[in-house]
Structures are given as C-alpha cells and as structure tokens.
C-alpha cells in the first residue's frame, strides 16, 4: 500500500518535472529562434508596411528588399571574397592541421614532444594586437587576400583533436601499408586521411564557420573595397545607419533603385543573406560534429 502510494507520488512528480522542463526549454527555444524568424519575416515584408511593425507574420509580401540588396554597391564582390576565403582557408587549414597532426603521432620522430609543445603554446600565448598588426604589415599582407587564409593554417586546437583521433586508429592498418612499401605521405593520403573523415569533417566545419564569420583582419588591415568581406559590409552598413540619420545613410550606400527601400529592411535582408549559408549548412552537419567534439572531449 505504501509502495503503491510512493510510485504514485513519483509519477506525479515526474509529470511535474517534465512539465516544467519542457516549458523552460520551449521558452529558450523561442528566445533563440525568434530573432532569426523576425529578420526573415521583416525581409520578405513590404518595406513600408513593415515600418509600422511586424511581429508574428510578414506585413504583406515582397521580395523587393532582396532585389535592392543584391544591387548594393560591393555586395557581389564581398560575397565572392567571403566564399573564396571560406573555401580556400578551410582547405588549407584542414590539410595543414591534419598532416602536421599525423607527423606528430610518429614516435620515430626526434624532438616530437618539444615540437608538439612548441606549436601548442601558440594556443595560449599571443603577442597582442599591435605586434600582430605590425607583423602582418611587415609581411606585406596588408590589402592582400593571403591575410585571410594564411595565419589560421595551423591551429593548435584542431591539431589536438586530429592527433587524438589518429592515435586511436588501429596501428595495424598503417603497418600493413608500410610493409607494402608506402612512404609517410602515401600512408597519410591513402590510409590516415580517409580513415579520419569524422574528425576532418568536424574540423572543416569549425574552420569554415570561422572563416565565414571572421572580419577583424578585414577591418584592421584591408582597405581595398574589392577585398571586402560580407561581414564587414554588414558591419559598415550597421554602423552607418546607426550613426548618421537613417535616410541619409541609405542615400550613401544605395543605388537609385534601392532608395525606395527603408534602411531597416535592407539591414534585415543583408543579415539574412549573411546568416543563410550557416543556417542551411549547419543543421545538416551538426550531428556529425557533436560526435567529433565528443571524441575530442574524451581526452579533455
């Protein structure tokens, strides 16, 4: 009898727990997703009707703001630069980090530990803003596309993750390739790299997202408008429309056709265009790299 009552109370408290848990998580879900939803409905609303406020549904429907935004000065160039830096930067990072991580797993290499430490220290130690700025200038990377893709080629955190992964692969695979006469590079390209796909994909997503989002190198060291990234374009647009009175900012940045749009709807639309690639690509890969991070986290 007592036992039955006990189970009953557990069931009831279970129900209460679930109710509270689901409610709080749903609130969090809304808080996270609503801003994205808001810019979406704003960007497809009729520009002038949207000014009096959109909330749950788009006010009218119009793709005019997309048409106007695409015609914005420099948007096409910026999109190309952003895509190029993402693709090339990611490729370089993946190749360099994975090959270096492979080399560092080889016990026959002299000074292996010291070399590994030497690279990892860079994760914790950096010279600071002004020395970085002056060094990049010294290398002639100012106003140079290479500035976007070279400095991140070797990243300590990625190297740790890949190295941990390679170390738990069965050594027999590599040995058999070695007996067949394969050298280190062949073993890496034919055996290790293909076997490391899960972690490589994880790193590739990290690197790609990082490249897509980074803008401070652009902000500080690149003045050439042809090398501008989408992020900086958005930043410039936002800081202009905040500082100067809204309409005059619109006049500064927009072509004649775009002038019929409100700056708000242009802002929403650029934000949408810059966010879209991430929103599309990310959910497809998320499960993949949650696994990757967990594998890396096992060792800490």
């Amino acid at each position: 009898m007592i036992r039955a009552e006990n189970t009953k109370s557990i069931q009831w408290s279970d129900w209460l727990f679930n109710a509270i848990n689901y409610t709080l998580l749903t609130i969090l879900l809304i808080v996270t997703i609503y801003p994205f939803y808001y810019i979406f409905i704003y960007s497809i609303s009729d520009s002038f009707r949207a000014q009096s406020g959109v909330f749950l549904w788009p006010a009218g429907f119009s793709l005019e703001s997309y048409k106007a935004t695409i015609k914005l000065q420099g948007l096409g160039d910026a999109a190309i630069v952003s895509v190029l830096r993402t693709v090339l930067g990611t490729a370089i990072t993946v190749v360099c980090c994975s090959f270096f991580a492979y080399l560092i797993t080889k016990r026959e290499m002299p000074f292996r530990k010291i070399i590994y430490r030497f690279v990892l220290i860079t994760m914790y130690f950096n010279a600071g803003f002004i020395p970085w700025y002056l060094t990049m200038k010294m290398y002639g990377l100012q106003n140079n596309f290479l500035l976007y893709i070279l400095p991140t080629a070797l990243t300590g955190f990625y190297i740790i993750l890949i190295k941990t992964f390679i170390e738990q692969l069965p050594p027999a695979l590599e040995e058999s390739a070695k007996i067949d006469g394969a050298g280190y590079i062949t073993i890496f390209t034919k055996v290790i790299f293909p076997l490391s796909t899960p972690i490589i994909a994880t790193i590739a997503v990290f690197a790609a997202v990082g490249q897509w989002n980074t803008w401070f190198d652009n902000f500080f060291l690149v003045e050439n408008p042809k090398l501008q990234t989408l992020q900086l374009l958005l930043y410039n647009f936002l800081s202009q429309s905040n500082s100067i009175s809204n309409m005059s900012a619109a006049d500064l940045t927009m072509s004649a056709e775009a002038r019929v749009m409100t700056p708000q709807s242009i802002q929403m639309t650029i934000t949408m265009l810059v966010t879209l690639p991430i929103v599309i690509v990310y959910p497809m890969l998320q499960r993949f790299f949650v696994k990757g991070i967990m594998m890396g986290a096992v060792k800490g």
Partner: protein, 312 residues
C-alpha cells in the same frame, strides 16, 4: 657466435632505419614550424616597442630607449583603472553564469522525446556559429526603438516610452552578459551533454530501484559525475579573466555605453590604431598577455595539486 653477430646486425639495420625515418619526418615538419614561427613567434618581437619611444614613421633604431617608462605610465592612467574594472566586471559576470550551460545540459538530457531533444540542441547551438556582427544586427532589430520588443510593448499599450536596452549605461554589463549567454549556452552545454552521455546507466538503474526520483538522481548522480568537467572549464574561464571578448564589445559599442563597455582589448586597439600610441598600447597588451599566462600556470598547478591532472 654466428647467431649473436646476426642479431647485432638486425639491431643495427633497425637503428639506422629509425634514424633515417626520423630525419625524414623532421624535415617534413620544418615548413610547419617555420609557419608557426612566422605567425606566432615573430610577432613577439613587437614587444620591444613597449620599451622605446617609438613613433610610426621613424625607424626604431632612431627612437629613444625608455625602459619601463610605459609600464609606469599604466599606474597613473585613469582610463586604465576604468578599463580594468569593465574587463573584470564582464568576466566575473560571465563566470557567475557559468553553471547555466550545465543546467541546460541536464534539462536536455532529461528530455525523452528524440525529436524535441534534437530540435532544442540544434537550435540553441546555432547562435554559436554566427558572428557578433550578426548578433548585433539581431539584437538591434529586437531592441531598437522601432524593434520587435518596443513594437510589441507599444501595440499592447504597456508603456509610452520605448525601452532603450542597447544604449543604457546602467545595465550594459548585464545586457552584454545575457547576450553572451544567448550566443554560447547551447554550445557550452554540448560538452556537458557528452559527459552526461558517458555516465554509466547502471548508476541510474540502481538509484531508481532505491526509489530515487528524477531530481534525486540528477542531484546524486548526474551532478557529481559532471563536476570535474565543470571545474576544468571554470578554471579555463578564470585564466581568460582579462580577455573579456573583443569583437562583442567592439560591435556593441556606442556613445551612450562607451565608458562602461571599453574592455582591455578594446582599449589596446583604441590606443594603438585610433590614437597611434604604439608603445603604450603594446605595453598594455603585453601586461595583459603576461597576467593571462601567469593565471593559466597558477590555475594549472592548482588543478594538478587538487585533481592530480593538468589542464594544459
């Protein structure tokens, strides 16, 4: 005799092969090492600027060596005190909220519905992948005077004066901390979720047989099991005390909140590139790096002593 000779020969061959391979490997790492030197170690030479009265345009050799002058300057710099308070306030606030991702991870792990679980995980980690510029744009579209929140308040007739969330100096620290939580909570929860998944299920079964409800098994099993992970991450956060986050405060900076949002990194940038005071700016940056490294080592040895495990 014959046999031992053969054995020696085998060893010798093996040895030589080992060396040749080792050297080949070493040669292959050289380009990478040069790369690391060029991009991470060469900039360290820039620290010499902190000891000279350098002005842009004049070669360093023609400028006066001033020793620790620029470091002494820091002690009398009023701005420096204000900037340190901002930096520490923002860091400490974010450390105070550090248990939130852990709570989220526990809440998510208690969800039985697979679809909802995946939905919440995917959604809450999304903000981690967008830049601070986009976060700013989203925040602006929510909180500005024509933004969603003020529109809603106006429509519902709750208040006549629009809320000024992003331009309010009194609440800027809290607002920025909440934005940081919004952006990072889901991502930080992933690591705890990984730790929770790794907990042996038998512990929960045993607890259930003993009559423990959900809350009790969370309290007595889940939390103790993920505590080590929490402590490691907390310690790492402490070592980043002076790096409050540059991009966030740069994009959210405006005239109304400028005084309270200027963190150390932002100050270094303003001194260096806006006022062109390279030596002092380098000195401040150097001060920051040195303190951060000292904190990291202190915390590492603390972690070694307490948990027998280093974190770096």
């Amino acid at each position: 005799m014959d046999i031992t000779y053969k054995k020696e020969k085998v060893v010798q061959i093996k040895r030589r092969k080992y060396n040749a391979d080792g050297i080949r490997l070493l040669l292959m790492t050289i380009p990478f090492l040069l790369f690391v030197i060029a991009f991470s170690y060469v900039p360290l030479f820039g620290w010499v600027y902190a000891f000279f009265d350098y002005k842009p345009g004049i070669p360093l050799s023609q400028t006066a060596f001033v020793g620790l002058e620029h470091f002494r300057e820091m002690l009398h710099d009023r701005d420096m005190g204000r900037v340190m308070i901002n930096t520490l306030a923002l860091s400490v606030l974010s450390i105070l909220f550090a248990p939130l991702p852990l709570v989220l991870a526990i809440m998510v792990s208690e969800v039985r519905n697979g679809f909802f679980k995946r939905l919440i995980q995917t959604t809450t980690t999304l903000p981690n992948y967008i830049s601070w510029i986009i976060v700013f744009s989203l925040a602006f579209s929510m909180f500005s005077s024509e933004g969603a929140i003020n529109t809603a308040i106006d429509r519902l007739g709750l208040s006549d004066t629009p809320l000024n969330v992003l331009g309010n100096a009194d609440h800027v620290w809290l607002v920025q901390t909440l934005l940081l939580i919004w952006k990072t909570i889901g991502w930080n929860a992933i690591i705890y979720l990984a730790a929770i998944v790794g907990i042996d299920g038998e512990q929960y079964d045993a607890a259930r047989i003993d009559g423990a409800g959900r809350l009790r098994s969370i309290w007595y099993i889940t939390i103790p099991n993920i505590m080590p992970t929490f402590i490691v991450l907390l310690l790492l956060a402490v070592s980043n005390l002076l790096s409050a986050g540059f991009e966030q405060y740069l994009v959210f900076n405006n005239i109304m909140v400028a005084d309270k949002i200027e963190v150390l990194d932002l100050y270094v940038y303003r001194l260096g590139l806006v006022t062109n005071d390279y030596p002092y700016s380098t000195a401040v940056g150097m001060f920051k790096s040195v303190i951060s490294i000292a904190l990291l080592f202190m915390i590492n040895s603390l972690s070694k002593r307490v948990r027998g495990e280093s974190i770096i």
